[in-house]
Amino acid sequence: MSLLEIENLSVTIGDGPILRGIDLSVQAGETVGLVGESGSGKSMAALSVMRLLPEGARAAGAIRFDGKDLLAADEAAMVRLRGNAVGMVFQEPMTALNPLKTIGEQVAEGIRWHTGASRAVAEQRAAGMLDRVGLPPSRFPLSRYPHQLSGGQRQRVVIAIACALGPKLLIADEPTTALDVVLQAQILDLLRELVAESRMGLLLISHDLAVVTEMADRIAIMRAGEIVDGGDTAVVLSAQSHPYTRQLALASTHVPAHRQPTASVTAPAKRGLPPDGHSHGDTPLLEVTSLTRDYTGQRRSLFSRDPPIRAVDDVSFTMFPGRSTALVGRSGCGKSTLARLVLALDTPTAGQIRFLGEPMTGGSDATQKRLRRDMQVVFQDPYGSFNPRHRAERLVAEPLHLLDPPPDAATRRDMAASALHEVGLSAADMGKYPHEFSGGQRQRLSIARAIITRPKLVVADEAVSALDVSIRAQVLDLFAELNRRLGIAYLFITHDLNVAQAITDDVLVMHEGRIVERGPTAAVFDNPRSEAAKALVSATPDLHRAIRRKLEEQG
């Protein structure tokens, strides 16, 4: 008998079907991967098992856990089950923890609740569990608060809470999506060990085919509320007999059509030159010299402060027109701070940024406008980067006030329409509000806004990391096409090496505020020299490698 048996589960909210008759089972000691793009219903499947579906959702079918029908169980029985025999790990470790309670209290809470153990006993068990997930009490006392931990450490606490009572089943819903690749590899290792140790069943939910392939014994692929393909991981992914599986696999390893050398006449000659190589007569697009940014330390007392935190430490690099550079590094390495400095949204402590040969700040208003016009930005969160109260036309046209003279209303409209057209949206979308677009469309909208002034440089801060793989592939194609057609260079900030490889020529590897390695993208990733680059390369999930490994394992 399976540990978890889901039979013909359907969930509807209002009149909309969310899940349409899915079947899924998890055996003890087995890892089952549930893969799908956002909106496919994979999280809803997990929440159905926990009976934590949102208000108004109705579930039909059968969910049997250890022989008990969970859909028929009353709330009291579910309360006994949750956090005890079934644990759950959520995506966002910051919001899954209570910021006002210490990590010890939070791990001990479930233990006390379910076993009736005294505070002291529960905290002792909690300490043992935190030690098990890699947070030894000697270095991470129980009295720490979530904000004193890094993202990866927080996710370890969440896992400790879920596994504190030795659950038979662990449901992990995108447990590593909010983490950088190195932390992702560590958390996945931890989950793998916990499964092997206690013969726990693991239901791993992810949009990342490579991650699931590495982890799962069996895999189920979801689309629009249905499981369209499933079986042993090696079989499903080596055969790729279902068209949707093939589509997902292709999208996860997508590389945009080969990038042409740019329109700039001198650009081809520079291929192969390191990005800081000397140019002969060609004005660099962006020159960053010994850039440093310190953040004031926390105040300790009236008269003393902690030493300042150096987020960006003596960084220098040069970009040339039409040539894109990736800035890669783990989260917290200072890459976003560097992006803000380049965009003049933040002031450097020391050093200089010259764009098109002129300093970004301190010039006359006219110079400022001209420089701003040539440098635009695309942010990560395709929803947060729009004023929810403005329509697409106004959102896209926002940078147009930088033109000299500012265009009249009719011209603005025309320009907004053609920018939308260029990114694959239609002019009919001009009257829509941001929430009426899908995630991928919103990112296109972001790009439309960034290219409307025909900039020479676009700073893209994790611009595709919030997107589903198939949409990410399309957006990467769009980036590559705009580079080819309009000669836009990108400063592409990302922790995902596949993305960096897909659209950039050169790469800068950043670690603890410094650039530790630089060179042509392919060369650096094929043969990383610095520790930081090596760690990134080896931790990056790779679908082909994962499939090969699975084939060896499962024969």
């Binding site: 942010f379 980067s385 006030h401 929430h435 700073v459």
Partner: protein, 295 residues
């Protein structure tokens, strides 16, 4: 202009139509209910300038303490004045005082709050410490003090109540704006070269308007109560000019023998506040594009 634009558009021939704010507002039940209620009260107040059932300055001792009847719908007070007429005339005072006081609070407080959030640093400190100072005075007592010094009357009451609305709105605006400033769409606007004033007007204000409207309706209700308080101690509207608060306080000693004397002015206050709340909600909903599709 629209036609010309459509001709040059390659992808679409469909006309772009923006559904109007008004049609969205009219589709919202709370807006319609709030609008009708507010309109009724306002119409009543306006009507009182030209006509009331009885003269509110005329004391008719023979008719004193009458319960509601066909002649006096809402009854009469201890001097024989018609309560319906008094409520109509009192509406002018109460509404005018509360509205203008909210206007003063918003008009000065919101720009101050936005300035504090946009500038930060010294500007923030100065504005917020000034707010603290104003906050440190008990509002009603200070209003009593102001009216006592500058003389009783509706205008001084308005100014006194208005001053104490300033820090409330400044704080709400600053808190809302501070939460918005680090958002990516604000960063995007900054990256697009917009200055702080432009960003405040285009992005911050529309996104804190809901908060301000809700706070506005609360302050309005408090304003009516404050005016009632001031009138009670004789520092608000001067007799024989009636005001809702004064009627309420006059009636409280006779609650058992003449409950209508308290009931009707009380109802008038409740209905006005409720209508304004609904109106505020309705406007907020109509302004929120996310709710658009549900209707």
């Amino acid at each position: 202009m629209r036609a010309a634009a459509a001709m040059t558009l390659p992808a679409s021939t469909a006309p772009v139509s923006y559904p109007g704010l008004l049609s969205r507002a009219l589709a919202s039940r709370s807006f319609v209910a709030g609008f009708i209620g507010t309109a009724l009260i306002a119409a009543m107040a306006l009507l009182s300038f030209f006509w009331t059932p009885y003269d509110v300055t005329q004391l008719v001792v023979a008719d004193r303490m009458q319960p509601p009847s066909a002649a006096h719908w809402f009854g009469t007070d201890q001097f024989g004045r018609d309560i319906l007429s008094m409520i109509m005339v009192g509406a002018r005072n109460s509404i005018a005082v509360a509205l203008v006081a909210v206007g003063i609070g918003m008009g000065i407080g919101v720009p101050l709050g936005c300035l504090a959030a946009a500038r930060g640093g010294l500007a923030d400190e100065v504005v917020m410490r000034f707010n603290d100072v104003v906050f440190a005075f008990p509002a009603l007592l200070s209003a009593v003090m102001i009216t006592a010094v500058f003389g009783p009357g509706a205008v001084n009451a308005i100014i006194a109540i208005g001053i104490f609305n300033i820090p409330v709105f400044a704080r709400v605006a600053r808190a809302g704006a501070l939460a918005l400033w680090p958002r990516e769409f604000i960063l995007a606007a900054r990256a697009a070269g917009k200055n702080r004033t432009q960003i405040t007007v285009e992005h911050i204000l529309p996104n804190i308007s809901t908060m301000l409207l809700v706070q506005g309706t609360i302050q309005f209700a408090l304003g009516i109560l404050a005016e009632a308080g001031l009138s009670y101690v004789g520092l608000g509207a001067q007799p024989p000019m009636p005001s809702w608060g004064r009627m309420l306080f006059d009636a409280q000693t006779r609650m058992i023998v003449a409950p209508w004397q308290a009931l009707f002015p009380g109802l008038a206050i409740v209905i006005t506040v409720l209508a304004l709340n609904l109106l505020g909600d309705g406007i907020a909903d109509a302004l929120d594009p996310k709710l658009r599709r549900r209707q």
